[in-house]
Amino acid sequence: MNIATRLKRRLRSLFRRDDVESDLSEEIALHLDMETEDLVRQGRSREAARREARIRLGGIDKTKEDCRDARGIRLLENLLRDARYGIRGLAHTPGFTAVLSLAVGIGANTAIFSVVNGVLLKPLPFPNADRLLSVSHSAAGVNVDDLASAPFLYFTEREQNRVFEDVALWSVSSAGVTGNGEPEQVTRLLATAGFLKVLRVKPAIGRSFSEKEDTPAGRPTVILMHGYWQRRFGGDPAVIGKRIIVNEESSEIIGVMPAGFRFLNFSRLDMILPYRIDRGRVAAGGYGVRGIARLKPGITVEQAMSDVRRLIGIAKSSWPLPPGISRQQLERLRLGPRLAPLKQSVVGDVGKTLWILMGTIGMVLLIACANVANLLMVRTTGRQQELTVRAALGASWPRIAGELLTESAVLALAGALVGLGVAYGSLRLVLALGANNLPRLEEIAIDRSVLVFTAGVSILAGLLFGLMPVARYARPRLAEALRLGGRSVSANRERLHVRNVLVVVQVALALVLLIGAGLMIRTFQELNSVSTGFTGRDELQAVRVYISNRVAPDPDAAVRREQEVRDKIAALPGVTAAAFASYIPLQGDVITQHGLTPEGLREGDRPRVRDYKLISPEYIATMGIRLAAGRNIDWTDVYQKRPVVMISENLARLEWGGASRALGKRLRTGAAVDQWREIVGIVADVHDTGVREPANTMIYYPALVERIFSQPLWATRSVGFVIRSSRTGTDGFIADVRKAVSSVNPVIPLTNVRTVRDGFEASMSRTSFSLVMLGIAAGMALLLGVIGIYGIISYAVSQRTREVGIRIALGAKASEVRALFVRQGLVLACAGLVAGLAVAGALTRWMSSLLYEVSPLDLPTWVGVSVVLILAAAAASYVPSRRATGVDPVDALRAE
């Protein structure tokens, strides 16, 4: 019979052993029954027949055993058992522990490095990406760090610069696509003609915008993103030349971007449209648009800065002033250049978090190395006699050192290989945890440079722990070693001393990481206890709706439509309140700002930039924001366009010195043509931007505002609804809301469906990410540190068996002997603690950007962590110390 089938059957009988066993039992049982029946038919009593049947079979278990043997299972089973013993034996060898510690250390480092590499180190996926800059401006005069760019600056910079190959403007906004099929809201990138040239990217099919198409006179055109093209047009190449209606304008599709094209961190861009700025109507204002540029080869960022500074001067004098803005006001802004590598805008502030994590995980590897070094020292001590004799017989010490190092190299290599497996696993974990706040997620992978890093780290680690035993043992101290027959007391003490130092280092590093994790836990607690300024976030549902020009031609009609939608939603079953506003807290929306001029601002004082939003009268009550003073605005205020506003308490305090003093005062934007408005109500502070961010200094305008931003009438067409209901977040509820919205007008699209709770959690996600990562690192560190202490105390116990025997023989109590070893462990731990506290004091201040309302020197954390560490150390020394008290004095004395 063929070997393969035979092998298959064997494997089957091995792996489906339960089947085979029950088959066998059943077969035997059947046999016994039938034999019994047969004997009964021959006239025996049932009992006698049963007995006879068993006897004839000759023992059930014996038969079964013979059957198993006949099948040849035995052989394989034995083999497996041997393998199991082998692995178990290996697990007890120092080599296995060493490889495992290393694998964890190297694996974790590889995983975090692949994140650091993908996010921070790799160039952006554009040709010569290092020459790409984000072009922005600061306005030191009004304390604005980042004013972005503006058309008048862009035109001047594009046309008169000496440092850029090209400059472009861009912004991202939403737009409605109508026409064939359901109306939908899309995310569009508005960009000037130079945009794709700056990035050096071409559409995969079709072409880019021409300069002509980027003017109001040009035909409307659009380039589709690959994903949208697939989704909406099924990837049909014949789409070029077709038309699509974007914000009521029929635009010709002239191109489709390549599949891999991504810009900054916009996860979902649907299309690019030309900006079509009317150059003839540009004035020296209109900030808030983003700029990018490509440096000419050989030009530095500093050179570009000074050129842009020169260009700002030219721009300020060569463009007309916007209405209501004087030349002095423009000068008072104190515009300056703000250029940075484009990568910086992509990466944002996550860099610091990642480097801290990298540092933390690096420490874990150091601790692992200390463990391995410790194990190697023990092992080499055992071989000392052999090494000494070989040295005496003429082996050169480089030869011996080389041999010892080879061992370490093998260990490091094994650790690296297993570590790569660990890395693949843990990278998935990191990405799952960091999905919400890691940019460039799609570029994070274990690629060649990560592998090079892993190799480098492994070699370094190998040298680190490999050189220690070499330094100690390779150079022979012949006379001493031979004289003492390998039992050199003084040498042992010295070696033990080195091992003690290693353990102290481990404990110290573990303490640093534990303090880091402790501080993150405290931060998380603080954030959770932050009063967001509104109540019952679990019940709040947010959705966004866009009222287009076609649905409502003017701002007045738009607000009436918005009120209509609100009323429909408020009437839904289970809804207790509903309101709308230009944006809803914690939804990641852009916070709109304007310069605030309080009435009576002294000449020379500059207006400060403050946040504002437009709200429906129900907004304050729906969000559960406390009204601190004055009154709420009402629908009459809205429709009669009364010049009234509400402000937050912190704004009242900052500008007028308190709520009571602010009531009745008047305020205005920075433009002199705008209307003055009276403060009629003061409300509690709200965290609109994020839980971590300070509460916003907010001006609440009625939904319809007259004479603001140099416009006769202002309303917001992209409007956020907030709904309070116990059904929040359920599919049925969202379907109801969708129905309510489309009952007002079926072309109104619904987007950004999200609960306020989700927004709250997202705004904490960076903290939870750091917390989990630091927690894992600290956990590993503590574990490795405890193993270190355990190891050294175990070793001490085994070395001092004789002494313990004498002590016990002389009448020492078991508890005294245990205390002896626990004390030794605690001395080490305390030394580590002191060193660790010093290191932590120096290092934790780097963490302050991750912390919230918690000092890096937070006393409860430091005390708590120290106590935990000491307790762990005590436990780690107590366990081996129990072995010492089990020593029989007679055996112990005989042992030497």
Partner: protein
Amino acid sequence: MALSNTKADLLQGTLDLLILKALTLGPLHGWGVSKRIRQMSREALEVNQGSLYPAMHRLEDRGFITAEWKISDEGRQAKFYRLTTAGRKQFAEEQERWKAFAAAVGHTLRADS
């Protein structure tokens, strides 16, 4: 031993042959095999049941017979064995070998007497 005096003990190595023979007449479960051997030998041969099952498992392991679970005449789930092609060939060979052996033993006995 439970063997009656009137029944002969089985010769070493003949059990496999008898099992194969019993199965040439059609699929049987374990007890059926022992029963059929008894019947075919006109109750002269009593199979040691303790060796029967290991022998059958050995034959199955070597691929001469194969087994499957079926409902027996008595209405119970039973493991039925049947000959494979390899088993038939093996039976033919074993049979020849046995005949040659039996003849040789016969010759020897006649020469002795």
